[in-house]
Symmetry: C2
Subunit: 212 residues, 2 copies
């Protein structure tokens, strides 16, 4: 398998964690987003949406980090990243989507660029936007985790799942942009628990071959 | 089952389509977003993220439209909304996420409100923002669909899938905000095909009990 990604892309980091948790070998192919390598014809041919990450597996080329992780779960079921019961699976997917749909899309590079270049938003207001969605979105995740007995050492029970694969990279982004995290005791406890595992630690942005 | 939703919420519409395709009965409970009913304590208790839709099934309460549809797929497998093969399932999920993560989160009500009230963005620039993400995002979906032999009458083959459940409500939003659609021949062919089916047509916003 080949993973096309970028060290700082949190969607790429999600997939690196999942691959590591499942103990899968892969070739890592950096696509430099700031240098706009994702818009070059070779990458656009591979992935018409021109986003990272992309996973190739034989002739299959799969985009979207959550679709990639579901694919890995179906093709390499052990260790599982989703619980066995439908209700638990729904809870884990829902937590993952709370980050992947409600927080991350508002704060990626192209959105921040649009705010600045098209809407003329200043640096301070841009950072306010970033923190607003991260801090509020993570607060919603905190409410979910704090009230529910299904939360364990990790987001769901005592083994890492898809939800942790998505949550941890979002915390990295939050820290990088100096977001408040003090109101998130359960989220940060889970984050610390994850970071003790080599799969999460070894896949972090600073340890990627393309890290700057 | 009970579905808490709002007629104009495209995430709610996705779930209404899936329920209809699977022929499932449910109680429809409107949550008026413009009147901020989703922020009232009773709904926040049910769904800590305070978003629509929420599906309850016995004691289970599930948020996030894609997690709900995956839950329905697991608990009521027929007719299937995902293909049988892992590669096909990945393609369908990826297309669904191309809309659910790259287009819709940028254009929902709370984001538009933030642009206007916090960033002082004017009406014209707000509409420009809306159309930019919809038109560009759908163009990426068009490229995916147009080039791939797996595209059939619908997004994937000749039966509707999760990808169609997510695509169709996005087209409704695009039409409502006068977005360009002429550059999307494959997307619009699939849309027209979907709208011939009672499951898509009967679940559309104008046919909801809370439609205005």
């Amino acid at each position: 398998m080949k993973l096309y990604g970028y060290f700082r892309s949190s969607a790429s980091y999600r997939v690196r964690i999942a691959l590591a948790l499942k103990g899968l070998e892969y070739d890592y192919l950096p696509v430099h987003l700031v240098r706009k390598e994702h818009l070059e014809p070779a990458y656009a041919e591979l992935t018409p949406t021109r986003l990272v990450p992309t996973l190739t597996d034989g002739e299959a080329s799969i985009a979207q980090s959550l679709a990639i992780i579901e694919y890995l779960e179906e093709t390499h079921p052990l260790p599982p990243l989703l619980p066995a019961d439908a209700r638990g699976r729904a809870r884990v997917r829902s937590l993952a989507l709370d980050v992947a749909c409600e927080i991350h899309p508002l704060n990626n590079l192209r959105v921040l660029r649009y705010l600045v270049h098209e809407l003329g938003v200043g640096e301070e207001a841009k950072m306010g936007w970033y923190r607003h969605w991260v801090e509020g979105g993570l607060e919603a995740v905190e409410r979910q985790l704090a009230r529910d007995a299904a939360t364990g050492r990790f987001c769901h029970g005592d083994a890492p799942t898809l939800a942790d694969c998505v949550l941890v990279p979002q915390i990295f982004n939050a820290q990088r942009f100096d977001c408040r995290l003090g109101h998130l005791p359960t989220v940060m406890r889970v984050f610390d628990e994850c970071m003790r595992l080599p799969a999460f630690d070894g896949a972090q942005p600073a340890r990627c071959p393309d890290a700057e």
